[in-house]
């Protein structure tokens, strides 16, 4: 039993398990924090960005000034943004038999794996994961392809050159492996390799191993996986939540009696309470609008946005915001809102009950019907005619490097009346804002991460009692910025085995029996 660790990002994991002669990839997350090193892609020509000075080395040489630009003391690559792929050299990825996907955020590297490595296996995921995953990929491809960029910088990636660059570029890992975004045909080809599965469905792999997805409570269709034979059980826990939001609650009981429990995807903001953050989000939003300012919410087109819209639905009348328009701008806005209403079977009990009536499970249907929420594919077209200020805009991408959000940052950044509220926890908001500095606009950080925190983890581990726990190394020590917080790490007995990018672990297990069947006449 071996585990190959292809990603070092704890919430965007990519591991490969060799288990009884089957090779199983667990998730293929795409680390998009690499895009923070790039200049934003503006939808309309931005004089400010095009005027940024080229970066000059300390010795005065200017050979990089076409590729690197400086903005308020930070250096950015002026090129099409690139992503940090999972490790592809650690093992031959064409030998991977199956890929198990746990949620739509953890499948963004799928086209790179299925289309470039000679992969011939099957991918397993739930229907909501596939549908929403497709929307996320579509939005990503669309927002990058719609702003064609002539320049593709590569000189800075030279190891000798990279050494001379300022942080964080200097320390960026595996820059030679960074890749441009995939295309829609590649997305479609990758998604066509997916086989749909339901919670608690037992899937036999070559008669040797059985895999089963379980509800993980984090997002629509999100799952944890059980990988087992008759006498060994490995649980793969990735992106789980115990909070009551819209998805079906987490199935904890089925994780019991595991020999090994691989634990990834814990909350990225262990000190923030999601409920408190939602409250802060609402009050900041209301305050800005009341003062005549606009609110910008950089977000993904699915997930927490459903919960935010539901909170606002209950909040706007009491806060006197009934006349403020809410805009949701994304090439997949309409699809996302429509899809959210048809996955009754994957929702929490309350929402299921509504569908039985039959009523749409999410109240944003009513917000749309009453014209309080409007959605547009982009800022071009109808939106420019309907656009009224002050308003609230939900749009992507949360990295602030591409998508319609770039336009609103440029448009509203100069006025202190406006506010940008960060709710997605995947990107450091200060890094996201860096290429927009100096900025007059107010910035509020309300990260909402509903995934397990360390208190919930230790409760969970006590409950399900795995023999061994395996986790990314980040979880075995306190966060670097809060080194005294020893409560912000995994505490269990025996201590967890930790892994880091490009490592191979041998997982401990011992089996003594195997199951066979004998024919009745033999007995």
């Amino acid at each position: 039993l071996f585990q190959y660790c292809l990603s070092g990002h704890p919430t965007l994991p990519c591991n490969v398990l060799k288990f009884k002669s089957t090779t199983i990839m667990l998730d293929c997350g795409l680390d998009m924090t690499s895009t923070l090193n790039f200049l934003p892609l503006p939808l309309v020509q931005s004089p400010r960005l095009s005027r940024l000075p080229g970066w000059v080395l300390k010795d005065g040489s200017t050979f990089l000034d076409k590729e690197l630009k400086e903005c308020s003391g930070h250096v950015f690559v002026d090129s099409v943004p690139e992503f940090c792929l999972p490790e592809t050299e650690l093992l031959d990825l064409s030998t991977v038999d199956v890929i198990l996907i746990s949620n739509y955020h953890c499948m963004m590297a799928l086209p790179y794996i299925t289309e470039y490595t000679g992969f011939t296996g099957t991918v397993y995921a739930t229907e909501p994961t596939v549908q929403i995953g497709r929307l996320l990929m579509e939005e990503l491809v669309n927002s990058i392809e719609r702003v064609p960029k002539a320049q593709s910088a590569s000189m800075w990636k030279n190891k000798e050159v990279q050494r001379l660059l300022p942080a964080p570029l200097k320390d960026a890992v595996e820059v030679s492996m960074w890749r441009k975004c995939y295309t829609m045909p590649e997305v479609n080809a990758a998604l066509s390799k997916i086989q749909l599965v339901g919670y608690s469905q037992k899937i036999e792999l070559f008669g040797a191993v059985q895999v089963t997805p379980l509800s993980s409570g984090y997002a629509l269709g999100s799952s944890n996986w059980i990988i087992q034979s008759h006498y060994e059980k490995v649980s793969y826990v990735s992106g789980s939540s115990l909070l009551t939001t819209h998805p079906q609650p987490m199935d904890q009981a089925s994780l019991k009696n595991s020999d090994v429990l691989i634990l990834t995807g814990l909350t990225q903001i262990p000190t923030a309470n999601p409920d408190g953050m939602v409250g802060e989000f609402c009050s900041n939003l209301a305050m800005t609008v009341r003062n005549g300012g606009n609110v910008l919410v950089p977000c993904y087109p699915s997930g927490v946005i459903y919960d935010l819209l539901e909170c606002l639905y209950q909040y706007i009348d009491s806060a006197g915001l009934s006349n403020v328009p809410f805009y949701f701008i994304s090439p997949v806005a309409n699809s996302s809102l429509e899809f959210s209403q048809i996955f009754a079977e994957w929702l929490c009990h309350n929402k299921q009950t509504k569908v039985y009536l039959p009523e749409p499970p999410f109240p944003h249907a009513e917000l749309i019907q009453t014209n309080k929420l409007k959605h547009y594919p982009s800022i071009h077209g109808d939106f420019s005619n309907d656009f009224k200020q002050p308003c609230v805009v939900f749009t992507g991408h949360p990295s602030l490097r591409f998508g319609d959000v770039v336009h609103f940052m440029e448009l509203w950044g100069k006025s202190s009346l406006n506010t940008v509220i960060f709710t997605e926890p995947d990107f450091s908001y200060l890094d996201a804002l860096a290429p927009y500095q100096p900025l007059a606009m107010k910035c509020v950080y309300c990260p909402i991460d509903t995934r397990l925190n360390f208190i919930q983890v230790s409760k969970l581990l006590k409950e399900v009692q795995p023999l061994h726990v395996v986790c990314p190394e980040q979880y075995t020590q306190p966060p670097p910025t809060q080194s005294h917080r020893t409560d912000l790490m995994i505490d269990c007995q025996p201590p967890p085995m930790s892994y880091r990018r490009a490592e191979v672990l041998t997982l401990p297990y011992k089996r003594r029996y195997e199951k066979i069947e004998i024919m009745p006449d033999v007995s």
């Binding site: 339901g198 469905q201 309409n334 048809i342 499970p361 003594r512 069947e517 009745p520």
Partner: protein, 602 residues
């Protein structure tokens, strides 16, 4: 040898398309499949006779679970009666759409029976609610562990929104129950599918046992032509339907036709259920077919432009119109009322798009009756045209055969069909698949013997040791393996003999076979031994053959010694000795040596 048994309940499922209610006993577990009501009766016979299940004792103690395949009343109509009036508190399983729609149809039916016909001794609204509280919703393909041994799994059945087939499994034994299903995708639903699960028994419906239905396109064209002609000559078309199911398919059909032909005659859909019904389809769109699912964001097929809500007063309006009205068998409610109003005019037409059970007005007019005795001895003369068009989505003979091919069952049992037709299908199935096919009568118990394999734990040490011995494993050749079967603590384990001896505290006894083989060879003993050694080495290339210093030969663990015959020095006696475990090789060697040594060897 173990067995499973199947019992059709009352004048129900078996051999009469009246209602479905089947009791299956498998490996000590009792499961009730569907709990239908007979639409043709208005008395006690309408519900299954649950006293068949158990005369004394509560149903909850006897039944491990109840499974409902879909929301049609002939499959779930008796559920509140069963759970609340007879009394059952165990789990009831159905899919999410069935759980959503079932209570609405039950309430609708209750209203017609109690409020309109004034019947008493029927279940109440509260009973429907209480009954639904016992329902556990299942996902497609989810393995539901009912208890430690019993598990069930749902497969897509197509027939109506949320219809499912169920696999019931205990250990190595399993049954698949199809409910009603459809093997060809239609305008709004996909085709049924089941994996190659090789159940011991497949219980399949056989409504259209002998029909190989003509292509769907032809039937649709026919339907549209008839509706169009009637409307053109100013007639009214009545289409009795159930609120959910076929109705939506026909609405999609007419909607697109009206659009294309630019027709103006109004289309109505009766009862308040319409909009609600369409809403269910919108919210459960993942259960519809691929095409509708793919395009629903751009255009939702269940939002109709031409089809409007019906008001009772419209029935007397002059001019042509098309009305969809419930219920589908013309046995009560609005469809019957409209039928009575329009029956007298030969310009009008009634199209029956589905099957009608015996005793209903629908069945009577379809079998050619033109004078109907209505309530209060009134005679209704039917002058309007009566058309039957099978749109009900059951599998035809071809579809049933296809499903059998998919699942590869060891036995097939036919239910929900008419005896004569089933007999024909039974023969066909037995011929083509060489499996037993049963078609029990009502109340008859069918017992099927199964031959389940016995699961055994094998010690990994033994498995690895045994596969390492001798040749590289060849998948095409059987391989012998030695082990000891331990039956202890209600479990079976296959372990190495040493481990078994140790665990049981026994001492080992060895059984050795010894055999003498005479060979004619005038040479000296050690030369004979060498000849034997060379011969064996030549023949047994893959075995370890050794010539030991003491003059004996070993082949693996078999010992061969040669001595001269005490009386005849020209004859050498080969002593071959092997343990019981090496019986195969030992007897092979003796046979080989008995043939003598090749001449040419030196």
């Amino acid at each position: 040898m173990s067995y499973l048994s199947v019992l059709g309940l009352g004048a129900g499922a078996g051999q009469d398309v009246g209602r479905s209610c089947i009791l299956v006993s498998i490996a000590g577990k009792n499961v009730m499949l569907d709990c239908g009501m007979h639409m043709g009766y208005n008395d006690d016979r309408r519900f299954p006779d649950f006293s068949y299940i158990t005369q004394n004792g509560r149903l909850t103690d006897f039944l491990d679970c109840v499974i409902i395949s879909h929301f049609h009343l002939d499959h779930c109509g008796a559920l509140p009666y069963f759970s609340e009036m007879v009394g059952y508190d165990g789990p009831i399983y159905m899919t999410h759409p069935t759980k959503a729609i079932c209570p609405i149809l039950l309430e609708d039916y209750r209203k017609i029976t109690v409020d309109k016909k004034g019947e008493t001794n029927f279940f109440t609204s509260q009973m429907i609610k209480d009954c639904m509280k016992k329902v556990v919703a299942v996902h497609l393909h989810q393995t539901v562990q009912v208890d430690e041994e019993l598990e069930i799994k749902a497969y897509y059945a197509g027939h109506v929104l949320g219809a499912a087939m169920f696999q019931i499994k205990v250990g190595c034994e399993s049954v698949v129950y199809t409910g009603d299903y459809n093997m060809t995708p239609d305008r709004h639903l996909g085709a049924a599918w089941v994996d190659k699960c090789r159940p011991d028994l497949l219980i399949t419906e056989s409504t259209y046992a002998t029909t190989i239905r003509d292509s769907k396109r032809c039937r649709e064209r026919d339907f549209l032509k008839k509706v169009h002609e009637t409307v053109e000559r100013g007639g009214k078309v009545l289409i009795p339907v159930f609120a959910l199911g076929r109705a939506q398919e026909l609405c999609i059909l007419l909607e697109t036709f009206w659009e294309r032909m630019n027709l103006k005659a109004p289309i109505y859909f009766s009862t308040g259920l319409t909009e609600k019904a369409n809403h269910y389809y919108k919210l459960f769109i993942t259960w519809t077919n691929q095409k509708i699912r793919k395009t629903f964001v751009q255009r939702n097929m269940f939002e109709f432009k031409h089809i409007k809500a019906f008001d009772r007063a419209f029935a007397d309006n002059p001019g042509p119109m098309v009305v969809f009205a419930t219920p589908g068998m013309l046995h009560a409610g609005q469809s019957l009322q409209i039928f009575r109003k329009w029956a007298g005019n030969e310009k009008n037409m009634v199209i029956m798009p589905g099957y009608c059970v015996q005793g209903t007005v629908g069945h009577k007019i379809l079998s050619g009756q033109r004078k109907l005795e209505m309530e209060g001895r009134q005679i209704l003369e039917v002058k309007m045209q009566v058309e039957y068009m099978s749109f009900s989505a059951h599998a035809d003979a071809k579809g049933i055969m296809q499903l059998i091919r998919q699942a590869e069952p060891r036995n097939v049992l036919l239910v929900h069909g008419e005896a004569k037709k089933m007999e024909f299908l039974k023969q066909k199935i037995e011929q083509e698949f060489h499996v037993n096919c049963y078609m029990p009568a009502n109340g008859e118990t069918t017992t099927i013997f199964t031959n389940p394999s016995i699961p055994v734990d094998i010690s990994l040490g033994l498995l690895k040791r045994e596969t390492a011995i001798g040749l590289v494993p060849d998948v095409k050749k059987p391989k012998l393996m030695h082990g000891t079967l331990l039956m202890k603590d209600n479990s079976f384990r296959l372990v190495s003999p040493e481990q078994a001896l140790k665990e049981l505290g026994l001492t080992e006894h060895q059984l050795r076979f010894t055999c003498r083989v005479h060979i004619q060879d005038p040479r000296k003993e050690h030369e004979t031994v060498l000849r034997v050694y060379n011969h064996l080495k030549g023949v047994l290339k893959d075995y370890s053959v050794q010539h030991l210093p003491d003059g004996s030969i070993t082949v693996e663990s078999i010992l061969i010694q040669a001595t001269a015959h005490s009386e005849d020095q020209g004859t050498k006696v080969l002593l071959v000795s092997w343990t019981y475990q090496d019986e195969e090789l030992g007897s092979y060697l003796t046979a080989l040596l008995k043939k003598g040594l090749p001449q040419s060897s030196t």
